[in-house]
Subunit: 319 residues, 2 copies
């Protein structure tokens, strides 16, 4: 809570209302649905997306309840994708809690994810804004398209930077952009401000995901709670690996042949020891800088300061 | 096509436009997404839902293109649920075509289903109507909730008529109701007409699903292309079994113990030979009659005649 209070400054007090909206969703259903929904909303993570909604809304007319509704809708989208991702990856735990596919099974997890996507649209419809709903549908299309592309790439052992950027733009940055631009619409900001928020969110999302992918290689295994190089072990080529491969042999590294030969531990160690993670993090800093630049159109305010500070936080965090 | 022309009378000529909209969705994506979308829209089934949209719209101001957009949106929802259902059931073919999970795998099928749910919302957003979008989100929530309830019931070997009706109301009738009521909104009909269309769609959907469940027991296996009693074999208790069980022992049949003892062939044969399928079909006729009654508020027209005729067709069809 202390970290949240510092990071989310002027909106920190309104963030818990988002969690309350989420837990209210679980009430009034048949037992299996109610229990599963209560389970997925039990923990709440860092609340970065709700904070982006509330801070972006603070730059305009701060309709607190409507912004909480938008934040809840987008947190539900995020949760739906996590439930389906965990099903796809057959992951057993997330944020220290068993996954839906682990507690129940993959069938329940698919249906709960579907319910959550619809629930997010239902919450967004309460805002009575067709532009927000259109943005939401485009965001979910971009997210699932990005995940599909990641999957196609990993099957082909593909190591390509343009492909990587397109993937993370879809699977991560699009929802960050939706949080900020959607809040801009709800808080009655003009088209230029909404576009600036979209650019801020997109660039922040790219910085966040690259930093995440760097941490996957360099992070303290005890802090992360998982072994280093997890993405690579799952067949996903992220930026540190891509930069490492380029420095070795001009894109000549074939990930699927490395996977087959079983030299994954060695490869992870080589990437960790190389300059590639640091160079990838530099790229994250560049996107963070672009996110800050997008905020130039806004007058000084506490909310703007917090958004600026977040661009540093996402690339400097240790977990 | 001849059957369609007879059944869908005044809107038959506009139905192919829906398929064209669907196939257009597959264009302009990365290879895996494009190929998968082209695959799922290759065949089109009986087009009952698009016909319900166009016929219901014909009772009001017939905005052909807007109704085609709504029909496409709802056919995309239907397709999304089929893709996820096939993944859950690990089905290998549908409508004579390999399923997404069979051609690719369950991971791709989950993500394509998610993309399709978002695509349906995107199409619906083109109609610029928050009530339509709200209805759509409520419909998808009801559908996934109904499927979850069916799954919970089948695991418990539950044989209960109220539970059955709630399940099929969610998983089938809600989308039929959305087709009719959504078209009522788009064709600028008043609240009473929209409510009448919702009741028509709900009752037609219940009649349709019960008839489907009866056919699963009594249908000609050669025509259906699958062995009789498929639902029962998958652990799902449908109305014929529920009525049979009640006539035997006052709800005393325990489906899970039958499944364990392996007497499924015998049980299917007993249900087929009993009066239960005919009694279930009577119930379907009652819902069809309720659907017809809901149409009383509308003036005579060719479209109304076609909607009336559909209430007979759904309970009398052989496949």
């Amino acid at each position: 809570m202390t970290e949240t209070a510092t990071l989310y400054g002027p909106v920190a007090a309104d963030i818990p209302a988002v969690g309350e909206r989420l837990r209210a969703i679980a009430v009034g259903h048949h037992p299996l649905l109610g229990e599963t929904l209560a389970h997925v909303f039990r923990t709440s993570g860092k609340q970065l997306r709700p904070a982006l909604v509330m801070l972006s809304g603070k730059l305009g007319t701060y309709h607190r309840d409507r912004l909480v509704t938008l934040a809840a809708s987008l947190e539900v989208v995020h949760t739906a994708t996590l439930v389906h991702d965990d099903t796809i990856d057959q992951a057993l735990s997330r944020r220290g809690l068993s996954t839906v596919n682990a507690v129940w099974d993959g069938k329940v997890a698919i249906l709960i994810g579907d319910f959550l996507f619809a629930q997010s649209a239902f919450l967004a419809a309460l805002l009575d804004s067709v532009p927000v709903m259109r943005l939401l549908s485009e965001t979910v299309m971009a997210m699932s398209s990005g995940e599909l592309q990641q999957y196609a790439s990993s099957r082909q052992g593909m190591i390509d930077e343009a492909d990587y950027l397109e993937r993370i733009a879809g699977k991560t940055a699009s929802l960050f952009a939706m949080c900020c631009a959607g809040a801009g619409i709800v808080s009655e900001q003009g088209p230029d401000a909404v576009e600036a928020l979209r650019r801020y969110g997109t660039n922040l999302g790219l910085a966040f995901q690259i930093a995440d992918d760097v941490l996957d290689f360099t992070g303290d295994e005890a802090v992360l709670g998982k072994p280093a190089g997890g993405d690579l072990r799952q067949g996903t080529a992220t930026l540190p690996l891509i930069l490492y491969a380029r420095s070795q042999s001009g894109n000549g590294l074939d990930l699927s042949s490395v996977r087959e030969s079983g030299d994954l531990d060695l490869l992870v160690a080589e990437v960790r020891a190389s300059s590639a993670p640091a160079r990838a993090l530099e790229r994250a800093h560049e996107y963070a800088e672009a996110a800050r630049a997008a905020l130039a159109v806004f007058d000084p305010s506490e909310a703007k300061d917090a958004l600026v500070h977040l661009t540093q936080h996402v690339v400097e965090r240790q977990r």
